[in-house]
């Protein structure tokens, strides 16, 4: 089987976000980069599928500036066979990214199954998986909690609202976007980390793929930091008053219920 994984390198969840000078983006200096956690699930699922189907290969791709090679190496250390770095600028949107990745996958050859994470934790767009599927004409299920692989088809369980699940069957080739719960990603063993350091990561430029930088559809601008988190409010009064006021604040101020 030809198994592909697309992953994104994102700032670690604990990173303090600072803006760059002109508010056109964030200041990337000093950021600790990690593989987006949902994408790690995708890598793990790919590796497990490969283990069940000897002779398969897992190819990991990531689009972004040069730093993302490090994320690809993380996946190689977990056990992926090949790595491909698709060079796109830092500011690339989901559409350009997806188009480039889709083109790169096509270039790599036949695909049986493609794994991604349900979203990247930086922009949280949950777009690229579906966009790649659309470009490659693949059936695609996102937010997948469980997958069973049959001959030429996959049965998946997808999470929808309110603690409900959909069971879906789809033929291969297809795209599966992972949700937490699909598996527990492995920790790379030291020999694999050492090996991954030496593996070659192929680099592909947009021009090689016939994709133009101008194929962006959206652009983020006017970055703003949210107002600094206020010190917590302690709500006074008797329990009835407290409960009422809390419900009001959650609804009107925090807008979470």
């Amino acid at each position: 089987m030809n198994i592909f994984v697309c992953l994104k390198q994102v700032p670690d969840t604990e990173t303090k976000i600072k803006l760059n000078g002109d508010n056109s983006g964030i200041d990337t200096a000093g950021i600790k980069w990690i593989v987006s956690p949902y994408d790690e699930l995708a890598v793990e699922e790919a590796l497990r599928l490969r283990e069940k189907n000897p002779g398969s290969t897992v190819t990991v791709m990531s689009a972004g500036p040069v730093r993302v090679v490090e994320a690809i190496r993380t996946a190689l250390a977990m056990g992926a066979d090949n790595g491909v770095h698709v060079e796109v600028p830092e500011t690339a949107d989901t559409f350009l990214t997806a188009k480039a990745l889709a083109a790169a996958i096509k270039k790599e050859g036949n695909l049986d199954i493609l794994f991604t994470g349900k979203e990247a934790i930086d922009d949280g767009a949950s777009q690229v998986s579906q966009l790649i599927a659309e470009h490659l004409g693949l059936p695609c299920v996102t937010v997948v909690l469980n997958a069973e692989y049959g001959a030429g088809s996959v049965k998946v369980k997808r999470e929808i609202e309110g603690g409900a699940f959909e069971s879906i069957e789809l033929p291969m080739p297809c795209l599966i976007a992972a949700q937490k719960g699909l598996n527990e990603p492995r920790y790379a063993s030291l020999p694999n980390i050492m090996k991954a350091k030496k593996k070659e990561v192929k680099s592909v430029k947009l021009a090689d793929l016939g994709v133009a930088e101008t194929e962006q559809k959206i652009r983020f601008k006017n970055f703003q930091l949210p107002p600094p988190k206020q010190a917590g409010k302690k709500i006074p009064g008797d329990p009835a008053t407290q409960a009422k006021e809390l419900a009001r604040l959650l609804h009107e101020e925090a807008k979470v219920v």
């Binding site: 670690d12 303090k16 000093g30 990603p185 030291l190």
Partner: protein, 764 residues
């Protein structure tokens, strides 16, 4: 050559030949081990200390005496055997060459030697009886049952009995030349004569028992290599090779050496020959198991079984090991030594301290963990979060590295980068940086440092986790990444002295950073504070009117031998009454957080922290003093689980010193009043909490009697709450032996506080 000589030569050749073959195989098996000898065990280093260790612990039986009665029994047997073996050699000699006797060599000392020989034969027998009594009547759980042990006891007893019968029959047979030097045998000889056996027959029987004795000796010799009794030969060398320091550093792996492709121990043969010598030294006494916090809370780990299981594993694989076919050796982790066994260890080292033959149990666990983690990525799932946090944010907890110094905001603490002119670097540690409870400890310590005028700095956001959790869990690679970065930072600021409130950071920086080029003078805050008090730079003035019990941190105590300074701080607090828990000092019980267990779920058995908290609660102390952030967390959780957080507080030494709670005892009393009050308090406390403490302290009796009389007054039927305060105040005011006006004044001024919580009776 007589037929006896001929027969002896034949039997001896067979016995010694066979025993020799068995020993040779053992030694070859040990030497075939692939693992390197750990630096702490190198025989060529610190030979003086090694010889001392052997003299004290082998000849002097020091470690064996840790357990009193069986220690004495063992010493009698051991010393007895030293003497009796000399006697046995004489019997061998006289069989080979008729008339051989040590008298040729010893001259006039021969008679005293015989007296000793005779007396010790009896003492060994007594020792064996005691051992048998313990093994078959007392039956402590940690001893277990063993056919091998039965055999050894039978052998030993038979050897002694055969000596007595040999000497007895010889004397009865007329060989009375040395009868006076053998008082017990002489008495047995007299008994034999009384039975009416004729002297010729006795003389023959004497020779028969001599033969029986010699055959038993040779039989034992053949038996020993396959028995736990092998310790008689292995324990000596094992003691010589022991880690002669209290401190223990885990062994570094050289990751730059690309020829190393295997980390840790996947198989028994990956361990070192010293580890195999450990198994050979083990006498299955079970002292390690008795003190193991994991075993005592129903975890599958028993340090004793670990050693025995590894030994079994080695013997099962002996053929492959000897043949050098290491790929045929079965894995170290098997149905006996399971993953749960390996992960249950808190690295508290209670087993190592208890072991009379200096087996290093934990090293085997570290090696197994290293293999599981680095080679197989096999570990409890929750550990992955710890590794990831340490990799991305240099802290085992998920907090941003850039928030590390937030605790210090507004405290005027300078970083080394801001001011390089400091005497000592305060290493805050992750708990002190991120955990709300432990931030308070660090703040208290900072306040004390400032009071004492110490010039100190912190690394601020440049500090990273020392790597200790990763190292204990087995991720040496991650440890070295963090440690290397820290050493570079410390060296960049030319740090000479480091002080930290975390025993884990303390141990790592002090004992383990050396390997990476970081040599500093490192203090635990308890040492540092005790020193400041001694120098008079800190004066404990705030009284702590409570009973305090100190919980020893393993990494401070057993790992670094620091027991006294924390206690001296507590004793320096006016009014504080220090009581010890059931297990303390070297025998102290772990809180359950060491060895990376802080970040693992405890799914099997009772929680270790609860077991330890129960020990603390037994003392009825109102304060559990801690010297370690992990102990703090574990003990606080334990107290909360018991729902006693309103009655018992877990407090760090620094907090006690800095922020002592309001004190019952008012200031400004006359000396006589103070002295009286002190005795009175003490008596109250003793009668309430610790009656046994008063034994032999007659000066307390009047106070205790008084306290008992006053008890109904002090604790009227009122429930806990505000009323109690007044009732207590009144009862104190009414206490007749104190000058009434003094109490009146105090009550009016509000200087008398309710009784400390620990002194209040528990509510029905």
């Amino acid at each position: 050559m007589t037929w006896q000589t001929f027969a002896f030569l034949l039997v001896a050749a067979a016995a010694f030949g066979f025993a020799g073959y068995r020993f040779r195989t053992l030694i070859r098996t040990m030497r075939a081990h692939q693992g390197k000898l750990r630096p702490a065990n190198r025989p060529t280093e610190e030979i003086g200390k090694r010889i001392n260790a052997v003299l004290a612990n082998v000849l002097g039986q020091k470690a064996v005496f840790q357990k009193r009665s069986i220690g004495i029994a063992h010493a009698m047997i051991f010393w007895g055997f030293l003497i009796i073996t000399v006697g046995t050699l004489e019997q061998f000699g006289s069989t080979l060459y008729q008339g051989f006797t040590w008298e040729w060599l010893l001259g006039p000392l021969y008679s005293p030697f015989l007296v000793l020989h005779d007396v010790f034969t009896l003492l060994v027998l007594v020792g064996v009886l005691h051992a048998a009594y313990r093994r078959y009547i007392v039956r402590p759980a940690y001893l277990g049952q063993s056919k091998d042990a039965d055999m050894v006891l039978v052998f030993t007893a038979s050897l002694m009995i055969s000596i007595f019968l040999m000497h007895g029959f010889m004397i009865a047979g007329g060989d009375t030349a040395h009868a006076r030097a053998l008082p017990i045998s002489n008495w047995i000889g007299a008994l034999i004569t009384l039975t009416g056996i004729n002297p010729e027959a006795s003389a023959v029987l004497g020779t028969v028992f001599k033969w029986i004795h010699m055959l038993l000796v040779m039989g034992f010799g053949v038996y020993i290599p396959g028995s736990k009794h092998l310790h008689v030969l292995a324990a000596g060398p094992n003691t010589f090779l022991k880690n002669v320091h209290r401190e223990k550093a885990m062994t570094s792996i050289d990751f730059t050496n690309e020829s190393i492709t295997q980390y840790g121990a996947a198989k028994v043969s990956d361990l070192s020959w010293k580890d195999a010598l450990d198994y050979a030294s083990c006498t299955e006494c079970g002292r390690c198991q008795e003190v193991c916090p994991a075993h005592n809370t129903q975890k599958p780990l028993s340090p004793k079984n670990l050693i025995l299981d590894l030994k079994d594993n080695l013997y099962r694989n002996q053929a492959a090991v000897l043949a050098g076919k290491f790929d045929e050796v079965t894995p170290l982790i098997d149905q006996n030594v399971t993953d749960d066994v390996i992960w249950a260890c808190t690295s508290c080292r209670a087993c190592e301290v208890a072991c009379p033959v200096f087996i290093e149990h934990t090293d085997k666990i570290y090696e197994a963990r290293r293999n599981l983690v680095m080679m197989e990525s096999r570990f409890p799932a929750e550990v992955q979060t710890v590794f990831k946090n340490m990799e991305t944010n240099a802290s085992p907890w998920a907090f941003a590295a850039s928030d590390r110094a937030n605790w210090a905001e507004g405290l005027g603490v300078q970083t080394a980068a801001e001011n390089s002119d400091f005497d000592v670097l305060l290493w805050v540690g992750c708990a002190g940086s991120f955990d709300d409870r432990n931030k308070k400890v660090i703040k208290a310590f900072v306040s004390l440092l400032k009071k004492a005028g110490v010039r100190f700095a912190i690394l601020g956001n440049e500090e990273q986790c020392t790597g200790d959790p990763a190292r204990r869990i087995g991720n040496e690679y991650l440890y070295q990444t963090l440690a290397q970065a820290n050493v570079e930072t410390l060296n960049r600021y030319q740090v000479k002295r480091v002080v930290t409130a975390c025993p884990h950071c303390f141990n790592t920086i002090k004992n383990e950073y050396k390997d990476l080029g970081g040599a500093y003078e490192v203090f635990h805050h308890s040492q540092f504070l005790a020193q400041l008090i001694t120098e008079g730079k800190l004066k404990p003035t705030k009284a702590v009117d409570e009973t305090v019990t100190f919980h020893d941190s393993c990494y401070l105590g057993r790992w670094n031998g620091i027991y006294d300074q924390p206690r001296s701080i507590l004793q320096s607090l006016p009014s504080a009454r220090l009581v010890e828990m059931k297990s303390h000092h070297e025998q102290s019980m772990c809180c359950g957080a060491g060895g990376g267990r802080m970040w693992m779920e405890e799914k099997i058995g009772k929680s270790i922290n609860i077991a330890r908290t129960e020990q603390a609660l037994e003392t009825k102390a109102g304060i559990i003093a801690s010297s370690c952030p992990f102990c703090m967390t574990m003990m606080s959780d334990g107290v909360k689980t018991k729902d006693l957080q309103d009655k018992v507080r877990v407090v760090d030494l620094a907090e006690l010193l800095d922020q002592a709670p309001p004190c019952f005892r008012p200031s400004g009393l006359s000396k006589i009043s103070t002295a009286y009050l002190s005795i009175f308090e003490r008596a109250l406390h003793v009668s309430d909490c610790n009656p046994t403490y008063s034994r032999g302290k007659s000066y307390l009796y009047p106070g205790i009697t008084l306290a008992r009389v006053l008890n109904p007054l002090r604790y009227p039927r009122a429930r806990a709450g505000a009323n109690n305060v007044y009732l207590e105040r009144i009862s104190y005011a009414l206490s007749p032996p104190l000058p009434l006006f003094c109490f009146r004044v105090l009550v009016v001024c509000g200087r008398i506080y309710p009784l400390p919580r620990s002194m209040q009776p528990s509510q029905p």
